[in-house]
């Protein structure tokens, strides 16, 4: 009798344990692997992403997460270094809890890891990667970033509509700067704007006076910047410091609160061909601003945080869709969900109808014409 009792007890304990572990598996979080800069020269962008992610997670998990399971992200600091993105990719592939990985800050660092993600069958969602050839890495490489092939012509159109005819183009001599600069110059020429000077400057350049003097001697009526915030703030200060008053039209990277802060008075009146303004009257923007101010009172909203918010919500929608057809959320199911997802709301785009199955990008593009007034980004009213 005793023996039977023992066996029965064991059986009960075992089955209880099985039930508990099944239940635990059911309530175990779903993980996204994030690859990005938290230290080093691009740290400000990774930190902006975190703000956007955390805001999105609050909403997603409050609404039940992914079919009852909490959504979480693991953020590995890669310093935007291609050597580290590769090691991080290895780590994420080996971690079976991760159902989706993100691309890194720059397209080049992300592309270095693409082959690894593609081969292992884990989606690399390069939400910040705007290089037109980023998604060429394979059918597991996707992006919802505005592509430079849309942003650059929008920048050039802004220049044209400001009435500028003869300009100098200063671009950052990095992979991003070259591609974007080339696309911008091509678009400017198409719109009938004459580019009399094109200069590609070194990433850590401090002294722009020689090229500014060149531009002045050419008699340009506008200076076009394809820059990141640090160099842009140096450029506008030195351009204005040299007594040059012609309009400056920058690319979208300057649509961040840091730019007027760093550049000071010189940022006043600078035009920015951006992707987003916080004072956009669209209802999704208004709602987002309210949520942001509730969680981060007094902090400025910048494009990178907004896009990170959008991207995490998009990823959650896709993962939930994958969970519908495959409760174990296999990585392949996640990839298939990218193909199948439809009509996702977006703060930046309004709505994403679907991913383009050929380019694995989104075709929507709104863009926002910004001008800096009193140290803040406001929408350009047309004069």
């Amino acid at each position: 009798m005793r023996k039977h009792g023992l066996k029965a007890a064991l059986a009960v304990i075992l089955s209880l344990g099985l039930l508990v572990s099944l239940g635990a598996q059911k309530s175990e979080p779903v993980f996204i692997g994030v690859s990005g800069p938290l230290t080093g020269g691009n740290a400000q962008y990774g930190l902006a992403w975190k703000k956007g992610f955390d805001l999105a997670l609050d909403e997603i998990n409050a609404a039940g997460g992914i079919k009852g399971r909490q959504l979480q992200y693991i953020f590995t600091d890669t310093q935007n270094d291609p050597k580290q993105t590769v090691a991080t990719a290895q780590k994420y592939i080996a971690d079976k809890r991760i159902v989706l990985a993100t691309g890194d800050f720059s397209s080049t660092s992300s592309k270095a890891a693409s082959a690894i993600y593609q081969r292992a069958g884990l989606v690399q969602f390069g939400f910040n990667n705007s290089a037109p050839d980023f998604t060429n890495g394979g059918d597991f490489i996707w992006s919802n970033s505005p592509s430079q092939s849309n942003e650059a012509p929008a920048h050039a159109a802004y220049v044209r509509d400001l009435g500028l005819k003869k300009v100098a183009v200063f671009s950052l001599n990095t992979d991003w700067g070259k591609v974007t600069g080339d696309l911008t110059v091509a678009a400017l020429k198409k719109y009938g704007v004459e580019v009399v000077l094109r200069e590609a400057y070194l990433p850590d350049e401090k002294d722009f006076k020689p090229i500014i003097t060149k531009a002045k001697s050419e008699g340009v009526d506008g200076i076009i910047l394809v820059s990141y915030v640090n160099d842009a703030s140096l450029l506008v200060q030195q351009i204005r410091g040299q007594g040059i008053t012609v309009p400056i039209v920058s690319n979208g990277s300057q649509a961040t609160a840091d730019f007027p802060k760093l550049a000071g008075a010189a940022a006043e009146g600078v035009y920015v061909a951006g992707d987003f303004t916080a004072d956009d009257p669209r209802p999704e923007v208004v709602q987002f601003v309210k949520k942001w101010q509730a969680k981060y009172p007094g902090q400025d909203i910048d494009y990178f945080a907004v896009h990170a918010y959008d991207s995490l919500k998009l990823a959650a929608t896709i993962i939930a869709k994958a969970a519908e057809s495959d409760p174990s959320i296999s990585r392949k199911a996640v990839r298939d969900a990218f193909v199948q997802v439809r009509d996702v709301p977006s703060v930046i785009y309004g709505k994403i109808a679907a991913f383009n199955p050929q380019t694995r990008r989104v075709d929507e593009f709104l863009g926002a014409r910004i001008v800096i007034k009193d140290g803040k980004e406001v929408a350009w009213t047309g004069k």
């Binding site: 230290t39 080093g40 020269g41 740290a43 400000q44 600091d77 310093q79 291609p82 050597k83 590769v86 090691a87 290895q90 780590k91 592939i93 080996a94 080049t108 592309k111 270095a112 082959a115 200063f170 001599n173 990095t174 992979d175 700067g177 070259k178 591609v179 200069e199 590609a200 400057y201 070194l202 850590d204 350049e205 401090k206 002294d207 722009f208 006076k209 020689p210 090229i211 003097t213 060149k214 002045k216 001697s217 640090n230 703030s233 140096l234 200060q237 410091g241 040299q242 007594g243 840091d258 802060k261 760093l262 000071g264 008075a265």
Partner: protein, 611 residues
Amino acid sequence: MSSTLALWLGQTINGLVLGNIYALLAAGLALVFGVAGLVNFAHGSVYMAGSYAGWVAVSILGWPLWAALPAAAAVGALLGLCLERFAVRPFQKSAHVASLLATIGAGMIIDNLAEAIFSPNPKSFPPILPTWRLSLGLVSIGGLDLVILGVSILCAISLFALLKYTRAGRALRASSQDSEAARQMGVRVNRMNAAAFALASALGALAGVLIGLYYNLLLPTIGFQAGLKGFTACVLGGLGNIPAAMAGGLLLGLGESYGVAIFGASARNLVAYALLLAALFLRPNGVFGGKARSQREALTGSFIPQGKAVRIHPAFGCALVLVAIVLPLAVKSDYLTQVLAGAWISALFALSLTLVGGTGGIMSLGQAGLMAIGAYASGLLAVKAGWSFLPSFLASGFFAAAIGSLLAFPALRLKGHYISIATLGIGEIVNQLILNWESLTQGAMGLSGIPAPRLFGVDFSQIGSFYYLSLAVLVIGALAITAVQASPLGRTARAIREDESAARSLGVDARRYKALIFGIGAFFAGLAGSLTAYLYTYISYETFGSSLSILGLTMAILGGLGNVWGAILGAVILSGLPEILRFAAEYRSLVYGLILLLVLRFRPQGLLGSE
């Protein structure tokens, strides 16, 4: 005025304005060199620290500018005293290269601390400066330009007067000429050196505030470049002579501005480092420098104390190799395999440095440039010309050896820290050439899509198999370098390292032997570069920068200069460290700098002893 003349005049003014800034940087470096005979590579970091000290005073404490300037100078002086005490004085009896390396380590520590304290996000000053400007044709100058000019002139005159006419100045000069004799005359040499460092660093910090205000974008990463530019100015003008060094600054500013005007904005550093090398090769005493001071520079090799190296029995060595072979099979972690595969490549790089530095006695601070040559040679042959792995891999070694030797040959007749500076310049120039020679290298786009190696029908695209490829190359390389060290070539090179004059008197052509050793080292550095290209499938001009050169040298020194097993041990330790210390990733270069300093100070022969 015709427009070309107006443009030329405008660029000249731009050049002089920039040169003004370089002059201020050069002054502190020249002072230290003139008094202590040392290259202070932490000067750039002190300059950066000074800019932040000024920023804290103005932006956080709310002090007015006239109070912030002396405060920053005081911070600089303090840093200078620390530098002298910890990075210079302990190495007084050894060769000056030890101190040069120690100041590099100290600089890394200061840089990393600044980044940790102030964050990598840029800071700017509140608008406290008057905005009046004076228009001069196509350009304009402002109040701060004139202030900096004033400070430079004041600086040049007062330092010159101090050194020439005051008693303290004579004591400073005496201790630099002959410290033993000066001691006997009652001069407190240590005090003099400390004073020189304090003064020079105060000046550097002051420059930091002024230039920080000027550009109004403070970053913790500007130190190394600033120091390098300052040093270039010194070499151009004349190292031991403060007014000459400052004039060198003006020359550099002009050269860079004209270079940008003619060749485009990205050519700036190419022009600057070409000027550095030209000065080192053609006029080592600088354009304005006087006759050569007698070189009492101790030979580089003798900073390593004589002692027994730890002997690794060949059987034990084979056992270690076997462990390395079995490891990925026993511990199934792609992550670990990736890290170790990288460690084997670093070990090959460290081996090239230990050969050139240990056996050859040349502290190469630009060895990563040789890696870059090898990497691009392999990459371009593979991607553009469709070469298969083995021929492109071997070609990388030959390209690195040939081009590296060609660039370094004029430097080989230089002594001590001059040759190290030359190698630093070569490393920088290689990367600037890669960036600017777009038609060949694709410039800033970098080279991507390097195909996976295929050898004897085996595809090495997976990290598991690549691991064995890099391990095999390392083993072969280590055996080859051991053979070189044991050969007559190796013995002669060590003889030259120990006492070049004695070797010469025995009929040895020192320069040719040094060139041979350097070439062989360059060959292996090139191979390491090629493997890196195949491993990461993407390379750019940023992949093989000066920080990699210094890291490689640290690996070689940590293991023991000239010690083959030491280089491998050093590489494994320093490759594994960032992964182990992931939680302290922000402090990575601080740890490297600390290791370099501690090894140099307490165990200069390295963990396994130098050979």
